[in-house]
Amino acid sequence: MLLIFSGYDGSNLSNITLLTRFKPIIYVPKEDPNCQLIDVLYEVYPNYIILWFHWPNDDYTGKEDYEPVILVFRDQQLVVIGIRPHNKYKHAVRWVTEGSRPIIVFATSWHGPIINHGRVRDALAVGFSLSMVSQRKDDYRLVAGAPQDWYVKADSSMPVYDFANKIARDAGAV
């Protein structure tokens, strides 16, 4: 397993260790070379980490896409995953893993994250992760940072940090 970090300032060391253990394995749509995943930014907080999956396009208007995935930790374990497909916040407490790493499928040109919960009927997550339509990535580079302010809320109901705090509180992680 190859895990690469850059720009890390040394704070929250234990959460960086957790990120190493729980960094998601992702499936991304097969796209034109100019439209593929650029990088993944990360922000470390005491009870959660936000990963920002960054594409050059969100739709066909040329707007960049940053898809946040929130990893909430309690007692050194990943307990909740928060996502924001199409600007709607959702969270999961059950997911398929490889080793300790959860699997997240980014579907369609809008890169809406789908979590495979490991139920027999998770056919959508399976269909959108087959090799004919998607590409598996498990060694992507992580870069410390956050996107421009607009993406914190985008067109959703609340800033991503408020949602992260809410699911962390609900999970007893705070």
């Binding site: 066909y60 490889e98 579907a107 598996r136």
Partner: protein, 253 residues
């Protein structure tokens, strides 16, 4: 049933529910209170059938299967004017499926259906304005749409199959499967593994109950030795005859 009758029903509702219904109407989820009640009545009428279809994994194909196939045909034959109505239908079907998920005991699946419903609605909007995009963007839209409709079609095919296939084809296994197929085609071999040879990773995917039934799983996917060994232990690779069908068979010993 007229609008007045429906309003009478609402008078007997819990005021909080009425407020919630009005909020859904205000937010545009439904066109009117009447539509909310019609939807509720429709669900009551169809739920038994929906539940039976869901048990058989036939609900998704029943809701959107035909339209998905027609979108594929329209795209293949360049009949773009037929694509958009199909996309709206599929998006609405997926949205209904999202609503039904908790009622059918598939609570976890709701978010996936909702996300994909939103994506296909977004595609329908893109197709509405298709002519305004430049040629290269139009080409990209067609290619992306074909990819995503194919993915949805695959999902429907999976739900047509027995649960065991769906359970096995989880993303974690897919990587191993891809390489398994490559191994088959490169070396003309068939992978056989018994239940006792399964590595712990596979047991996480509810394989045990299927394999102990003595079922045979067949795959038309790819395979590789090094990757396969991550998932299976004590693997055996008997030679297959050249006449054998190009499928990978995993059998319960």
């Amino acid at each position: 049933m007229g609008q007045n009758s429906l309003e009478l029903i609402s008078l007997h509702e819990d005021p909080e529910k009425v407020r919630a219904i009005d909020k859904m109407v205000h937010d545009g989820v439904f066109g009117s209170r009447a539509e909310v009640y019609r939807t509720g009545a429709y669900l009551l009428l169809t739920l038994k059938e929906a539940r039976r279809l869901a048990m058989l994994d036939k609900l998704d194909p029943a809701l959107v299967g035909k339209k998905v196939r027609s979108i594929v045909e329209s795209l293949d034959n360049d009949r773009l004017d037929e694509v958009r109505p199909g996309l709206v239908w599929v998006a609405e079907g997926l949205r209904l499926r999202a609503m039904l998920s908790p009622l059918l005991g598939h609570e976890d699946a709701r978010d996936s259906y909702e996300t994909l419903a939103d994506s296909f609605f977004a595609y329908s909007e893109v197709m509405r304005q298709f002519e305004k995009y430049d040629a290269s963007t139009q080409k990209r839209i067609r290619s992306d749409l074909k990819r995503d409709v194919a993915a949805l079609q695959n999902s429907l095919t999976l739900t047509d199959q027995e649960k065991l296939s769906t359970g096995f084809r989880s993303p974690a296994i897919e990587g191993a499967m891809q390489q398994i197929k490559r191994l088959y085609f490169d070396e003309n071999i068939v992978l056989a593994a018994s239940h006792s040879q399964l590595a712990p990773e596979l047991k996480d995917f509810e394989m045990e109950k299927y394999l102990t039934k003595g079922k045979v799983l067949e795959f038309d996917v790819e395979i590789s030795k090094s990757q396969a060994k991550r998932y299976w232990t004590n693997i055996s690779f008997p030679r297959a005859s050249e006449k054998q069908e190009p499928t990978i068979v995993m059998s319960h010993a």
